[in-house]
C-alpha cells in the first residue's frame, strides 16, 4: 500500500493517460467499423498495464524527485499508439510492431533507471561514449548489418528489426559533451576577449569540434539531414549552456548558413528538399517530390478549430504519414485545439527538464539534463516546423509519438536519465 502512495502525483496522472489511451483507441476503432479488429482492444490495455508496471517499478526502487516526466512521456506514447492505430496501412501490421517497440522501450527505461549505480560515473567514461558513438554512426555503412531503406543508408538490422543508430548517438553525444565541458569548464569559460567578442579557446574545444565534425561527415555521407541539424543543435546548445557566450552560437549559426548553402549547391538530395519547401505547389513538384508536403498542408488546412474528429479525417492521403507527418494527421482530426495541447505537452516536458537542469548539484548533471531536454524540444520544433512548411522538412521524428522503434527506445532512455538526475538532486537536497 505504501508502494502505491510513494509516487502519488504520478499515479494520478497515469489514470488520465489510461483514459486517454482507451477513448482514443475506441474512437479510432469505431470510426471505421469495416476494418475493426477485436484484438485491437488489447493494445491500449497492454499499454496501460505496461505503464502501471513501470510506475510500480519506480516506486519499488524508491526513485525520488520528478513525478511529471514519466506521465508526460506515457501520455505522448499513448497518443503515438492511437495515431499508429489510426494511420496504419491495411497491409502492414505497424500497430503491433509499435507496441513491441514500446515494450522494448519500457525495458530500456527500466535498465537505465537500474544500471548506472552512480550517475556521475558516466562522466569518467567519456571517451568510451565518444568512440561508441562514432562506431554506431559508421555501422550502417558496414556490410551485413547495414541496410538502406527509402534511399537513406542509416539503418542497422537483425532479421525483421531495423534500428537507426544515430538516435542512440544523440544521447551519447550529450553525455560526452557534458563530461568534457565540465572537465575543461574553467579554461573554456574564462576566455580572453577582443572588445566585446570572446576568443574561443580553440585547443580545448578541438576534441568536441572533432567529435562533432566526424558526426557531421558520417551523417552527410548517409544523407541524413535531420541528424546533421540535430547534432549541430546539440553542439551549439551545450556550448552555450556551459559558457553563456551567445557569440559562439552566432558563429555556429553563421557556419550553418554557409554550410547549408554549400550543401544546397553540391548535393542533389538537399536541393530537392529546399525546392519542395519553397514551392511545393509548382507544376513539376506537386505530384512528385512535393506531393507529401502538399498533402500534409491540405490536412493542416482542413483542421479548423476542433478538427474532423478522431478517425474521421483523411490523413491517410499523406504518404508515409505514420512516421513523417503524424503532427498533421493529429491536427487534422483534433483540430487547432488538439494540436495546441500536443505542443503544450512538449513545452511542459521541456520546462520540467530545464528545471531539473537548473537544480542539479554538479555542472555535469546540469549540462546532461539541459542537453537531454534540449534534444526533445529541438526535435519537436524541427519536425513540426517542417510539417507546417515553416522550415525545410528533415527526417527527424516527433518524439514519443511518431512511428519508429529506435526513436521510441532512445527517448524513453532519455526520460530515465532525466529522472535519475532529478533523483540525485532530491537526495542531495533531502526533499521528496
Amino acid at each position: 500500500m505504501t508502494l502505491l502512495l510513494r509516487r502519488r502525483s504520478e499515479v494520478g496522472l497515469i489514470v488520465w493517460v489510461a483514459a486517454l489511451a482507451i477513448t482514443g483507441s475506441v474512437a479510432v476503432a469505431a470510426a471505421d467499423a469495416a476494418a475493426f479488429d477485436r484484438r485491437q482492444i488489447f493494445i491500449p490495455v497492454a499499454f496501460i498495464a505496461l505503464m502501471l508496471a513501470l510506475h510500480l517499478f519506480l516506486a519499488w526502487r524508491g526513485v525520488r524527485g520528478d513525478q511529471l516526466l514519466f506521465p508526460l512521456a506515457a501520455g505522448l506514447s499513448a497518443l503515438g499508439l492511437i495515431l499508429v492505430q489510426r494511420l496504419q496501412p491495411a497491409d502492414q501490421p505497424l500497430l503491433l510492431q509499435q507496441l513491441t517497440w514500446m515494450i522494448v522501450a519500457a525495458g530500456a527505461f527500466a535498465a537505465t533507471i537500474l544500471i548506472p549505480r552512480d550517475l556521475t560515473a558516466l562522466a569518467r567514461f567519456k571517451w568510451t561514449w565518444a568512440i561508441l558513438g562514432l562506431v554506431l554512426l559508421i555501422s550502417p555503412l558496414l556490410p551485413v548489418i547495414g541496410r538502406e531503406i527509402n534511399g537513406a543508408r542509416i539503418w542497422i538490422g537483425v532479421s525483421r528489426f531495423n534500428f537507426e543508430p544515430w538516435e542512440a548517438v544523440k544521447i551519447l553525444l550529450v553525455v560526452f559533451f557534458a563530461a568534457y565541458l565540465e572537465e575543461f569548464r574553467e579554461v573554456i569559460t574564462h576566455s580572453r576577449r577582443i572588445g566585446p567578442f570572446p576568443i574561443p579557446p580553440v585547443p580545448y574545444l578541438l576534441p568536441i569540434l572533432a567529435m562533432w565534425a566526424m558526426a557531421m561527415v558520417v551523417v552527410i555521407f548517409e544523407k541524413d539531414l535531420g541528424a546533421a541539424l540535430l547534432f549541430l543543435g546539440i553542439f551549439l546548445a551545450m556550448l552555450y549552456l556551459a559558457t553563456g557566450e551567445a557569440f559562439y552560437t552566432l558563429i555556429g549559426l553563421a557556419l550553418l548558413a554557409v554550410g547549408g548553402f554549400a550543401v544546397y549547391q553540391l548535393i542533389g538530395h538537399v536541393h530537392v528538399r529546399i525546392d519542395t519547401w519553397l514551392q511545393p505547389f509548382s507544376e513539376e513538384l506537386r505530384f512528385g517530390a512535393g506531393y507529401q508536403i502538399v498533402q500534409g498542408l491540405f490536412a493542416l488546412g482542413n483542421a479548423g478549430l476542433f478538427g474532423a474528429g478522431l478517425g474521421n479525417g483523411m490523413p491517410d492521403r499523406i504518404p508515409i504519414v505514420w512516421s513523417d507527418f503524424v503532427f498533421n494527421a493529429f491536427a487534422e482530426e483534433t483540430g487547432f485545439a488538439g494540436a495546441l495541447i500536443l505542443l503544450a505537452l512538449y513545452l511542459l516536458f521541456f520546462y520540467r527538464g530545464m528545471l531539473i537542469a537548473v537544480r542539479a548539484p554538479t555542472p555535469f548533471l546540469q549540462l546532461l539534463a539541459g542537453g537531454l531536454s534540449f534534444i526533445v524540444a529541438f526535435q519537436t520544433l524541427v519536425i513540426v516546423g517542417g510539417n507546417a512548411r515553416l522550415i525545410p522538412l528533415t527526417g527527424v521524428t516527433l518524439p514519443f509519438v511518431a512511428y519508429g522503434g529506435s526513436s521510441l527506445v532512445t527517448n524513453w532512455m532519455l526520460v530515465a536519465l532525466l529522472m535519475r538526475v532529478s533523483d540525485v538532486t532530491a537526495r542531495v537536497r533531502g526533499t521528496e
Binding site: S9, L13, V17, A19, T23, A30, T334, L345, L348, R429
Partner: protein
Amino acid sequence: MEITFAVLLWAVRIAFLVILYLFLIRAFGVLHRSMAAERAATRAAGTLVVERSPARAPRVGERLTLRPTNAIGRDAGNDISFPDEAASARHATLELRDDEWWIEDLGSTNGTLVNGVRIEKRERVRFGDEIAIGRVAMRLER
C-alpha cells in the same frame, strides 16, 4: 440505431479532446505543487549570515545556505568549512528537526557559542541567534 451510433461516436471524440485537456491541466497542477514543495523545503532550511570572520574566508555578509543537516568545521569535507585555526576539524553539527534548528558541539577544543554562551550538549537555535565557532560568528536567518 444509426443515429445513436453517430451520436455516441461524436461523444467519444469529444471525450477524447476533453480528457486531453484535463490531462494537461492536471500535469500543470503536479508541476505547480512540486515547485511549491521545493520552495517550502528551501525556505524552511534557512541560512547562516557571516557576521565576524578572520582574514581569509568566509567574507563578512556572506550567506551560507543550509541543508537539513550541516556539518561545520575546519576540514574541507564539512558542509560548511572555513580555514580558521581556532575551529576544530569536525566542530559542530546544525540540524533541522521538526522545523526547529538544533546545534550540537562535537567535542571541539574551543567550544561552540550561542549568543556568547558556550553550549554543553545539544542546544536549540532560534532565528536571529548568533553562533560562534572559532573566530567566525554567524547569525541564523530564514
